[in-house]
Amino acid sequence: MYRVMIIDDEISARNLMKVSVDWDSLGMQVVGEAGSGIEAINIIDEVKPDIAIVDISMPFMNGIEFTEMASKTYPELAIIIMTAMDDFEYARKCVSLPVFEYMLKPIVRADVTATLKKLKDKLDKRRAELGWNNKDEANEPDMDRSMIDKIKSYIEKNYKDSKINLTSVAQRFGFSSSYLSRRFKQETGKNFIEYLTECRMERAMMLARGNYKMFSTSNEVGIPDTAYFGKCFKKYTGMSYSEYVLSQKGQ
């Protein structure tokens, strides 16, 4: 089973993709979806996809930017770019990226199925060559308490950068993401992504109290995708941004 993540700002497009393709027979499973590149970056470490199907035109972070970032951070991720022919200029930029396939919009089942089949064959072949690649964590440098502190302060300084996530930070400090994730949880009692979100949300709450509009706050804290920001904010505070702003005014 290959894990598939669909990244598209159109919810009906994501839905259509999910329902109209016979994933099982392809040996694939849709394990996650994201409404923007921003959201994708934040959840990709949890979703852990083998294949990402990315719409090229999305707000906040378009398919190209996401692909640039993802192909650096996740070298083994297979990326399929979806485009209408109009986005030819975008598509041309992709030529320099290690994109696996292009898919034309609007979605036509036959085309999508054919493309995915081709990709599956490629991935099968690669896996056969490399074998199941389990990272040997024993060889990694020891991550002591001070290193965790260092990473924490890095997050506190850089959470405004919408492109950081577990894997990119792990790469930066020379660890594997799973090792960092495990050690971080051991040392701080929190998931890495929970800590990153906490930093962002604390800052957001502060800004909300200062009567900042949501879109500028979301930009300020590194989640420019307001829809996703709203989701995170609600999850963290229990109320929506506007409710929170109102509640703070009452006090």
Partner: protein, 589 residues
């Protein structure tokens, strides 16, 4: 010089195309004719002039010869007469108071003795002062006494005081019975001793003298006449040409039209009562060889010059111009503004070729620029057309509606929407202007499957495409408008079930694509209208323009660079068959 103009303009008059070569040859021919004529005239004039000079010279020689011969002879006769004059017996006869017959006879004897030495003295008369006379001579003579005694005649003789005067026929006083003419030497006789005038003597010389003088020049027509023009000796025919001018004392030469008497000269020697006439025949004169040689040489040089000029014109002007125009013609036929490669002389004509080439270059540049502009304009038009539809909106809407249909379990609607999406994706996509045939066929299939949703009861489709033809590139969207046309102008108006059949096969390099429909067909006139090559078609036939059929035909022709790349066969009420022949080897753009 109207005729010159006529020759020069001959080609124009006939209205035909006039080449420089022909005109040049006309001019050369004209020059040649004129110069030849001038040369001939010159030769004739020189000949005539020379002939005249020769004739004059000849005449002078002849006449002067005869004159001097005659003078010499007549001088002899004068001397002879002097001998008679101083003869004793004669003097006696003249002095005597009374003359008897004896004395007369003695006198005659004395005269005869003296005159015996010469033949031509015809007769001799000696008159005494009293009028008595003796005479001797052959034949019979008559004396006109009255004439003889005319005072003016006697005065003429006496004026000479013993010298001789020469007159014809004793100045009219003596004539012969047989009518022969003669020349008379007359003089006064003076007595030697008393120096008194004692008488007059007349010595008559026969015409034989003249004949003898002429005789040496028998061949040249010579004639001697009296002062009055009476024939005396020589060529009698010539006497008829006598005129009074000849008496002037100068030698006169007169041109005469007559062939044999082309020039007649006449001269009256001083003191002689005769006129010597002479003619010169043309045969007797000729142009000097040197003159002829010079003139011939001139003619030859002239002819050579003409030939050289002609060959120069032909080689250095005519030929290059023809080559040039041929090369230009080739260029024209080739349909491209090519440079002329023919070698040209390094002169004005070469310059012409160079100018032509550089003009071509310039025109090519302009054409290229125009074509580029045209392409740009077309590209812009296309883009404008395509941008009128916002694909993103369309696609997203289609996807949303598709999902809704799926959710609602409307499978047919879902499938139809998917087909529509596929159709529009191919239909609206930019990028390649040429696509594989199989993709165009897919567009048609999608298109027809949607149309069948609407007209499923009357519309069916069939496909027969060669495997080999599938991958060949054709301009995008050249078949779809034809199929669209088949539905709206073929099958739908007919109202009966109809079929649209697409077939394609490869015949060598030619890809044949046939769009057939069993619709209402077209009339010959309609086909003509559709196929006619006009640019302003858009508004002319609104029934056709809406479906871009003509535009499609234009694109096909443009792509194939062949106006016969599309053909339409039809039978009204039965079918329409549109055949495209696309040469896959020479695809443009």
């Amino acid at each position: 010089m109207k005729w010159v103009q006529k020759i020069l303009n001959r080609q124009n008059v006939s209205g035909a195309h006039e080449s420089i070569a022909v005109r040049l040859w006309n001019i050369i021919a004209l020059i040649f004719t004129m110069l030849t004529a001038a040369l001939i005239i010159a030769i004739v004039m020189v000949t005539l002039n020379t002939r005249k000079e020769n004739s004059v010279r000849e005449s002078e020689t002849i006449i002067n010869g005869i004159t001097s011969t005659l003078r010499g002879n007549i001088d002899n006769y004068k001397d002879l007469s002097r001998l008679v004059m101083i003869n004793e017996t004669i003097m006696e006869f003249l002095r005597a108071e009374n003359v008897d017959s004896g004395l007369k006879n003695d006198s005659i004897y004395a005269i005869n003795d003296i005159l015996i030495v010469c033949n031509n003295v015809d007769s001799f008369f000696i008159f005494r002062n009293d009028g008595d006379y003796v005479s001797t001579g052959r034949g019979e003579y008559f004396i006109d006494r009255e004439m003889m005694n005319r005072p003016e005649w006697l005065d003429q003789i006496n004026e000479k005081r013993g010298g001789a005067i020469i007159r014809m026929n004793g100045n009219g006083a003596i004539f012969r019975r047989n009518g022969n003419q003669f020349i008379t030497v007359a003089r006064t006789v003076y007595d030697i001793y008393s120096q008194k005038k004692t008488g007059i003597l007349l010595m008559n010389i026969s015409m034989h003298l003249l004949e003898t003088a002429i005789g040496e020049n028998e061949n040249a027509g010579i004639c001697i006449v009296s002062e009055n023009g009476d024939y005396l000796a020589g060529d009698e025919e010539l006497a008829g040409f006598f005129t009074e001018e000849f008496r002037s004392g100068e030698m006169i030469h007169k041109d005469n039209g007559d062939k044999r008497f082309h020039m007649i000269s006449g001269y009256k020697p001083d003191e002689l009562p005769i006129v010597i006439m002479c003619r010169v025949t043309p045969a007797g004169t000729s142009v000097p060889a040197a003159v002829l040689v010079v003139l011939t040489l001139l003619a030859v040089v002239f002819a050579i010059s003409i030939v050289l000029l002609a060959s120069y014109i032909s080689k250095d002007i005519n030929r290059p111009i023809l080559d040039l125009s041929e090369a230009m013609e080739d260029t024209k036929k080739s349909g491209w503004l090519k440079k002329i490669e023919v070698r040209m002389p390094d002169n004005e004509i070469g310059q012409l070729a160079v100018s032509y080439n550089s003009m071509n270059e310039y025109l090519n540049e302009i054409l290229t620029r125009l074509i580029e502009q045209e392409k740009t304009v077309r590209g812009v038009e296309m883009r404008v057309l395509q941008e009128q539809i916002k694909p993103h909106f369309l696609y997203n809407s289609l996807e949303t509606i598709s999902y809704m249909a799926y959710e609602a379990g409307a499978t047919k609607a879902f499938e139809a929407l998917e087909t529509l999406g596929n159709f529009y994706r191919n239909f609206l996509s930019k990028g390649n202007r040429e696509i594989p045939l199989k993709r165009e066929i897919q567009i048609i299939k999608d298109y027809l499957s949607i149309q069948k949703l609407r007209y499923g009861d009357i519309l069916s489709d069939e496909y027969d495409v060669d495997e080999a033809a599938n991958e060949l590139m054709i301009p995008k969207l050249i078949l779809q408008p034809l199929v669209e046309n088949s539905i709206y102008h073929g099958i739908r108006p007919k109202g009966e079930p109809g079929v649209i059949k697409i077939s394609a096969n490869l015949d060598g390099d030619i890809l044949n694509v046939i769009v057939y429909d069993s619709g209402i067909g077209m009339s010959e006139e309609q086909i003509g209208l559709i196929l006619e090559e006009k640019d302003d078609d858009e508004d002319e036939n609104p029934a056709l323009s809406g479906f871009g059929l003509k535009g499609t035909i234009k694109r096909i022709r443009y792509f194939c660079k062949d106006k016969n790349a599309i053909e339409i066969f039809s039978e009204e009420g039965e079918y329409t068959k549109i055949v495209l022949r696309i040469n896959t080897k020479q695809q443009g753009e």
